[in-house]
């Protein structure tokens, strides 16, 4: 295996799988191939730990993206396991027909390829193309149910996504224009590793405009407040595995792209400090999403807003900067993607069992389905930031370091956290407790993915492996 570069494997396997899956019509076989492909990609990603390829002009594996590649392939794998059983059940119920599912698995693998490519891309243009490919794949899958709402959600996602693409592209062109006089024409001035070394000599004004367009462009994909409109409907109307992948992975990949450009900006002293911009957008998203949680009637749309809230906290943490806040941001990104995908797995089971996503029609889960109910309670408690689960550690670091450095900023932060917490717990005591309503049919889909994620988050709450800590601390220092 040593002679084949694992990086190539991480990219080739999803593409190959996508090609094969496009040909297969039978759902059962394609779901198994999908799981197998995801598993092999996971193994390839893990082997990246062992053999660390040198960055070349197209691909780069450093401390920052190695963690996210592994996380992506892990969550991708667990989601494929969940989606195999979930979609099978959807077929039985008849909400989906084999015709609709024709390209589902192919699109899934295309999306995984897009995300992996975006993570490893050293060329900022290639990164843009990869994120766009992943977004287009998810747009198609959001509209898979062909219901009126699903199509409308996909359409909204499509239009807002396109505008986001345009901004991101314009930002990339501007970065190229800023790099070209210093590094020279051609491919070299789009290679990130080259850019990071010479960015100090770039023209600051051009970099500022570039960063604004990149922040807004990729920010749309991260779901920050003024640009978030597509996210709740995409989560609510799309199939649950896609919501899990959207919330768990795509938001992270887009944020990873923003981080790459924030590193560039941080390295150029003359350019405008990216901190305040990200802090304001983070706080606006946090407080806005927290208040929006109260009036939601659809369970998946509620957790979508919770994702926006958490992305707000993460962007705020990176905006604050400093080793402590950056470490917390990276930790929260990892924990959020694990917890949120676990919650969406649970929500998927619930909506199948109860046949509805309306919060008002789901009660007494811990009575009717104890394992599912308590799993959801654990998930919501984790996402609300209660110990002993992982997110408490990152929120602890963010809140305490913010208060000691900028007390005034801590007030909206705490307000947002409290309001969000209140809404989540209000809904939780609504559907996990109380008089049971609706069908008590047992759950077919497997619990393994959900509890695997929650177990990881539970362990991370108490003990973090030293290797992971070293990576995060190294990245936190270069993030500026």
């Amino acid at each position: 295996m040593t002679m084949i570069n694992p990086l190539i494997l991480v990219l080739v396997i999803p593409v190959g799988a996508a090609a094969i899956l496009a040909l297969i019509a039978n759902y059962r076989i394609s779901s198994r191939i999908n799981v197998l492909a995801s598993f092999i990609t996971l193994l390839a990603a893990l082997s990246l730990f062992i053999q660390h390829p040198e960055p070349d002009s197209y691909f780069l594996v450093d401390d920052l993206n190695i963690v996210f590649i592994v996380l992506n392939s892990f969550v991708g794998f667990t989601t494929s396991v969940f989606s195999a059983t979930y979609i099978a059940h959807e077929l039985e119920i008849g909400r989906l027909t084999p015709a609709y599912l024709r390209f589902y698995h192919a699109m899934y693998q295309v999306m995984m390829f897009g995300m992996n490519l975006a993570l490893v891309a050293n060329n900022i243009g290639l990164m843009w193309v990869a994120i766009e490919m992943a977004t287009l794949a998810t747009i198609l899958m959001v509209g898979i149910y062909r219901t009126h709402e699903a199509l409308e959600a996909a359409w909204k996602y499509f239009i807002l996504g396109s505008v986001g693409i345009a901004f991101a592209l314009f930002g990339t062109i501007l970065v190229y224009m800023a790099a070209e006089p210093v590094i020279g024409q051609g491919l070299q001035s789009m290679v990130w590793t080259v850019l990071i070394e010479r960015v100090a000599e770039f023209d600051p004004a051009l970099l500022n405009v570039a960063f604004i367009f990149l922040l807004l462009g990729y920010g749309t994909k991260v779901g920050l407040a003024p640009l978030h409109a597509w996210l709740p409907d995409a989560h609510a109307e799309g199939p649950t595995p896609i919501s899990a992948v959207l919330s768990g992975l795509l938001l992270n990949v887009a944020l990873y792209a923003v981080l790459r450009f924030k590193m560039l900006m941080a390295a150029n002293p003359a350019a405008i400090a990216p901190g305040p911009l990200m802090v304001t957008m983070g706080l606006v998203s946090l407080v806005f999403a927290a208040f929006m949680l109260y009036r939601r009637r659809d369970i998946k749309r509620m957790f979508a807003y919770s994702s926006i809230e958490h992305m707000g906290i993460i962007v705020f943490a990176f905006g604050m900067g400093g080793p402590l806040a950056n470490f917390a941001g990276l930790l929260q990104m990892t924990m959020h993607s694990l917890t949120k995908s676990a919650i969406f797995f649970a929500v998927g089971h619930i909506s199948q069992v109860k046949g509805t996503q309306k919060i008002s029609e789901i009660h007494g889960l811990t009575e009717t389905h104890p394992v599912l109910g308590w799993g959801l309670v654990l998930g919501v408690v984790a996402i609300a930031g209660m110990p002993p689960l992982g997110i408490f550690m990152s929120e602890f670091l963010v809140v305490s370091s913010t208060f000691s450095r900028a007390p005034l900023l801590a007030i909206p932060l705490v307000l947002g956290l409290m309001v969000g917490f209140g809404a989540l717990l209000l809904r939780l005591s609504g559907f996990a407790f109380g008089e049971p309503v609706g069908s008590r049919a047992p759950v077919q889909a497997s619990y393994v993915p959900m509890f695997a994620h929650l177990a990881l988050v539970f362990v991370a709450g108490i003990y973090l492996p030293p290797a992971l800590v070293a990576w995060f601390q190294h990245v936190a220092s270069i993030l500026g």
Partner: protein, 220 residues
């Protein structure tokens, strides 16, 4: 490279901004489509001129795509569609033409201020080009925001995208320009087919004619 070559490129880019402003001015859909076709042609001219200045053969491909696809194929398809959907009569803008034009000019000024702060040592052509590209982009976005009709918004998006291609071609030696313009064309095709397929008449968000706001995500 100075002198005449710069002036012509400068002229073409300026022309593009002017045509964008003209698109803001239109309040008839067929007229709007014609102006957009002009917009695409001007872009193609500017890209070809850039091609021969920078002696980059692949830019010609982009020019041809811009000319053929966006200059002729899309306008014709759109014109036939608006006749079929029967929406060729009126075009309601959210805000009157006057304020929109004022906003457009303000946006161009903003683009100039933001872009011209780029230090002199960057070669003047790139700086000018970027300023115009940013203006076209902002005007396109303004058009998307101030038009109620779906087709009007799509045209706004396409003019925004033309600004992008202008910027991309202005960046000398930038790889992937052709691929990007092809990707965008595919995107535009998706949108146009989407409109046609789902027969969006009135506004973007009513996917089909009878929708009339029946459902928009959890309407209370």
């Amino acid at each position: 490279m100075h002198g005449l070559a710069f002036d012509i490129a400068h002229l073409l880019a300026g022309g593009l901004v002017l045509v964008s402003l003209m698109m803001l001015y239109q309040d008839r859909l067929p007229a709007l489509i014609n102006v957009f076709a002009l917009h695409a042609i001007l872009l193609a001219a500017s890209v070809t001129w850039q091609a021969n200045i920078q002696h980059e053969p692949y830019l010609y491909v982009t020019a041809v795509i811009a000319l053929g696809f966006k200059g002729f194929v899309i306008p014709i398809a759109l014109r036939r569609m608006i006749v079929r959907l029967g929406i060729h009569r009126e075009i309601e803008t959210v805000v009157g033409i006057g304020p929109t034009m004022l906003a457009g000019i303000a946006l161009v000024a903003l683009a100039m201020v933001v872009m011209l702060r780029v230090t002199a040592q960057a070669d003047p052509l790139a700086r000018e080009d970027l300023a115009f590209a940013l203006s076209v982009l902002l005007l396109g976005l303004l058009m998307m925001v101030t038009r109620r009709n779906a087709v009007g918004q799509v045209l706004g998006f396409m003019s925004l995208e033309n600004g992008l291609i202008l910027a991309a071609t202005g960046a000398k030696g930038m790889p992937l320009v052709v691929e990007i313009s092809v990707a965008f064309s595919v995107l535009i095709a998706f949108i146009v087919i989407g409109i046609f397929l789902f027969r969006i008449r009135e506004r973007f968000d009513t996917v089909d004619i009878q929708a009339l706001d029946r459902f928009r995500g959890e309407r209370p």
